[in-house]
């Protein structure tokens, strides 16, 4: 008795192969379509904004007249914000990661911290704005300052840095730790002299990606009450300020076409900043490629 009718199998084979080819083409087309849309997005923005992008644009204060307006205050504000976010979030994030990876015992409390961090990563950024508004702006009376916004943003990107630093610490081979312990080194000596130096590229890469998230974030800052229009520079981290995304938001919200072009130019500046940071991250990753 013959279970297989080879003729019909062969006949179906042709269809199956065609379906396969067809599927491959469709999958590829879908992916390319996605990339195409994103290409259109970038093209639109660049073509609309490039005309307004010059040195004057970078050096001018915002103005009601489109041809005189610039991103100077916003750019300085973004840099100041990063000056607060970078040290605060890196310090807290790396310390937390070291605690979790090197010291924490495998108990419920540790599990709770870990679950908490992954949940924190999923909280919408605007909710962090509400937290910052209540705690930093009002309760601690920091006002709508660089410091209040910086602390809010630090908490927002903290989970990203913690997870990146944890991964980097995990990737340090156990053999290096063992070698250090076997020399009579203490735990902290081993962490500072062996583990951290090896993990630093990974930590930095994660840190830069976290900062690039912070630099483009808008929603929490709106909630904190950052001004859409600010024609002077903050003198210290306790002063009122504005940032690049807020300035873009302001221009986008205006009906006149000229302001939209200004917004596009602002976006180009923001994207170049982000591209530069990503480039830096890749550079660090390549420079310190694993050698052990």
């Amino acid at each position: 008795m013959n279970f297989f009718d080879h003729k019909s199998i062969n006949a179906r084979m042709k269809i199956r192969v065609i379906v396969n080819l067809f599927a491959k083409i469709i999958f590829f087309a879908a992916m390319m379509f996605g990339l195409f849309i994103l290409g259109v997005l970038l093209y639109r923005i660049v073509s609309q904004g490039i005309g307004y992008l010059d040195l004057q644009f970078l050096q001018s204060l915002p103005s009601r007249k489109p041809e005189q307006a610039g991103v100077y205050t916003a750019l300085i504000g973004s840099v100041l914000l990063m000056a607060v976010v970078a040290p605060v979030s890196l310090l807290l994030g790396v310390a937390t990661a070291i605690y979790l990876e090197e010291y924490a015992k495998d108990n419920r409390f540790t599990a709770f911290i870990k679950v908490n961090i992954s949940n924190l990563a999923g909280v919408p950024s605007i909710v962090f704005g509400l937290l910052g508004l209540t705690v930093f702006v009002r309760a601690l009376a920091l006002g709508t300052s660089v410091l209040a916004a910086g602390l809010t943003m630090s908490l927002l990107v903290l989970p990203i840095i913690i997870v990146a630093a944890q991964e980097a610490l995990k990737a340090v081979p156990a053999s290096l730790r063992e070698a250090s312990y076997a020399m009579g080194a203490t735990k902290w000596q081993t962490i500072v002299r062996i583990v951290l130096p090896v993990a630093i590229p990974g930590i930095l890469t994660g840190g830069i990606l976290a900062l690039s998230r912070a630099i483009g974030e808008t929603a929490p800052l709106v909630v904190l009450g950052l001004p859409l229009f600010l024609a002077y520079l903050p003198k210290s981290i306790f002063d009122l300020f504005t940032v690049l995304p807020m300035q873009i938001y302001n221009w986008t919200g205006r009906p006149q076409e000229e302001f939209h072009s200004l917004a596009a130019a602002g976006i180009i500046v923001l994207l170049i900043l982000l591209l530069f940071m990503n480039f830096l991250a890749v550079l660090i990753r390549n420079k310190f490629q694993k050698r052990y």
Binding site: R16, V17, N20, A23, K24, I26, F27, A30, M31, G34, L38, R44, I45, A95, T96, Y99, L100, Y103, A104, I113, N116, I117, S118, N119, G122, V123, P124, I126, V127, F128, G129, L130, L131, T134, L158, P159, T186, W188, L209, S212, I215, G216, T218, A219, V222, V223, L224, G225, L228, P245, I248, Y249, T252, G253, H260, A264, L270, L271, L274, N278
Partner: protein, 330 residues
């Protein structure tokens, strides 16, 4: 006598420095140990300091929850919880007395999220399958970083794109479309979360061991059949949790809807009208000059609380799925 002993001891070190062969490292180490009692103290206190840092993340969560709860309670002292949950009208800026029914805002959020999901799932998933099953190693190496960079584009950029490009384009096609509507931000949020779905799903697909594919290929299956009947089912939990996470992102998305969605809370299922989402409402109030302590001020916390609960549920579902159905291949 003591002095002589001391001199002798110094002599040992001196000698050690002069002559390699008589160098006693263990003795040197002994010497140093007496001077370094701080080491033990450091070893003791470092874990505590690190723990304090770790607690900050817990405090952030507690702070967020407490903030939302307290301010929401204050809000419910002027507006009844029943009105908040059941009234179908969100009209807070009335001169005399506002109406606070959350439903229109929730509906606005859901409309946008729904559109985003319809746009992003097909493109995201097919891209993931193409990358993991069909693409060459070289293509993957090029596309993956691009996806990561795209996932990092600030949402304000997408908002600008929605208002200045997608909306005008859609209005050419759909005559009745208002300037502010649900369709355009929905589509753009979909575009925004596509790289996320593609990247996370691809991770899930790639982690399916090759031995499973080989088993099916050896029976004469085509790539399509292997992808659809072997790899996809094996990676389904990872894929679903990536979609749930993307939904959570869409629900919490703010700037795109604030820019292109409008500020008219609606209760219908029409996607061509101006709408308002929960996030957009918070933005609207934050930008306006609703004074501290007014009912409107507290209303953003009640809305924030609702939003927080929605996303928390989504995140918990995603975590549950990926933990409960974690693929064990060994």
């Amino acid at each position: 006598m003591l002095l002589i002993l001391l001199c002798f001891r110094m002599g040992v070190i001196e000698l050690a420095i002069q002559n390699v062969n008589s160098l006693s490292i263990q003795k040197l180490i002994e010497e140093k140990k007496k001077n370094h009692n701080t080491a033990g103290i450091i070893e003791k206190f470092i874990p505590m300091i690190l723990l304090l840092a770790a607690v900050v993340s817990v405090l952030t969560t507690i702070g967020t929850v407490l903030t939302l709860i307290f301010e929401t309670i204050t809000f419910f002292q002027t507006v009844s919880i029943l009105e908040f949950l059941t009234t179908k009208k969100w009209y807070p800026f009335s001169e005399t007395e506002g109406t606070f029914g959350i439903l229109p805002l929730v509906l606005g959020t859901l409309k946008v999220t729904f559109i985003a999901i319809i746009v992003s799932i097909p493109i995201g998933l097919t891209s993931a399958i193409y990358l993991s099953e069909y693409a060459t190693e070289r293509t993957r190496r090029i596309i993956k970083p691009i996806l990561e960079v795209l996932a990092g584009i600030p949402t304000i950029v997408y908002g600008f794109f929605a208002l200045t490009f997608v909306t005008p384009l859609l209005r050419e096609i759909i005559p009745g479309l208002e300037l502010f509507n649900a369709l355009s931000p929905g589509i753009v949020i979909g575009i925004m979360i596509t790289p996320m779905i593609a990247s996370l799903s691809e991770d899930a697909l790639v982690s399916v061991p090759n031995s499973m594919r080989e088993g099916a290929f050896a029976l004469g299956a085509t790539k399509f059949e292997v992808a659809l009947k072997v790899v996809l089912p094996a990676a389904i939990s990872g894929i679903i949790s990536s979609i749930v996470l993307a939904i959570s992102r869409a629900i919490g998305e703010t700037m795109i809807v604030a820019i292109a969605g409008g500020s008219t809370p609606n209760v219908d299922w029409n996607v061509t009208n101006s709408i308002q989402t929960m996030t957009a409402y918070i933005v609207q109030v934050s930008q306006g000059d609703a004074g501290y302590g007014t009912t409107i001020y507290y209303s953003i916390y009640a809305v924030g609380m609702t939003l927080f609960i929605f996303t928390l549920i989504m995140n918990l579902i995603a975590q549950y799925i990926s933990r409960r159905f974690r693929e064990e291949y060994e």
